[in-house]
Symmetry: C2
Subunit: 149 residues, 2 copies
DNA sequence: TGAAATAAAATTGTGCACAACTTAAATGCG
DNA sequence: CGCATTTAAGTTGTGCACAATTTTATTTCA
């Protein structure tokens, strides 16, 4: 590739990632709309569903670390999910700086409605399971590299 | 992978793409800030720099097709770039529905300041050129699949 | 102990991305 | 021709993402 081509749109990895993320979102949106969720809200619910009870709590801070999002993004998003009665937000009495997030019963129940989404989205990719795992591993490497430079 | 794991965050391709796109953006932002550009504005400039003159024009429509963005995103973004005197917006006299975008002299000149960005960002990925091309090809396949389902 | 430093959320402001809609212009076709 | 249809931009409203700042609580350590 000549130096003249470095700035061509078609040669940018970042543009492919950007386009794919938008395209992924467009495939998820109509499916998630049936659950009343946006894509980002779905990611939050995925974390909460991993401890699928109304008793387990996770702080906004820990949620932010898992999802790589700050309180500026999470605070209003969590308020919207609370308004939908999918989760509760409660100050930690041991440390009043922290806010603990718990699923409500409705939030727990929503998991069942989401159970078919991963398979449905996988079929949209047109990939085999092996290809998926290979790509996941490559992207993990790239994430690791870019997090340390 | 068991069915129980389908909804785990760590198993989602979409989350990797989402995280990578955000991470990519964070690497670009401080670099682009020196040019007074956001990441999306940079993508628009990449398209315009491919015909690096003040005479070539591209319609908002064509720009939207290249970048996969609609007028709701592009109209305000292009106004901001016009305010920065990097481009001009002019109704097409042959078809008054269309608005034609042209680089200004300053817009053309900015390309030189951006010339080192692709190499700089490539180094952040930690990949070899072969790895980059392989990944680009895989992502192109994925984009093609997801655009037809 | 108590002032300085650190930490967690929330708030404010900017700029996307996109759905839904409006406006104005061009096209098509009976 | 004339009217319905289509097309291109722009507008409005919602929800992120994130920088910068504020508020309140906790920790540190002289």
């Amino acid at each position: 590739m000549s130096n003249n081509d470095n700035l061509k749109l078609e040669n940018q990895l970042c543009f492919r990632l950007y386009s794919l993320t938008k395209l992924m979102n467009r495939h998820y949106s109509p499916v998630l709309k049936k659950l009343g969720l946006t894509y980002s809200q779905y990611l939050v619910m995925l974390v909460l569903w991993e401890n699928n009870t109304t008793t387990a709590a996770i702080s906004v801070k820990a949620l932010g670390e898992k999802l790589d999002l700050d309180s500026g993004t999470l605070s209003p998003l969590l308020k919207r999910l609370e308004k939908q009665a999918l989760l509760s937000r409660l100050r930690n009495s041991k440390d009043e700086r922290s806010v603990e997030i718990k699923l409500t019963t409705a939030g727990c129940q929503l998991k069942a409605l989401a159970s078919g989404i991963p398979a449905q989205m996988f079929s949209v990719t047109g990939m085999s399971l092996v290809e998926l795992h290979t790509l996941n591993a490559q992207l993990d490497n790239l994430l690791a590299s870019m997090n340390t430079r």
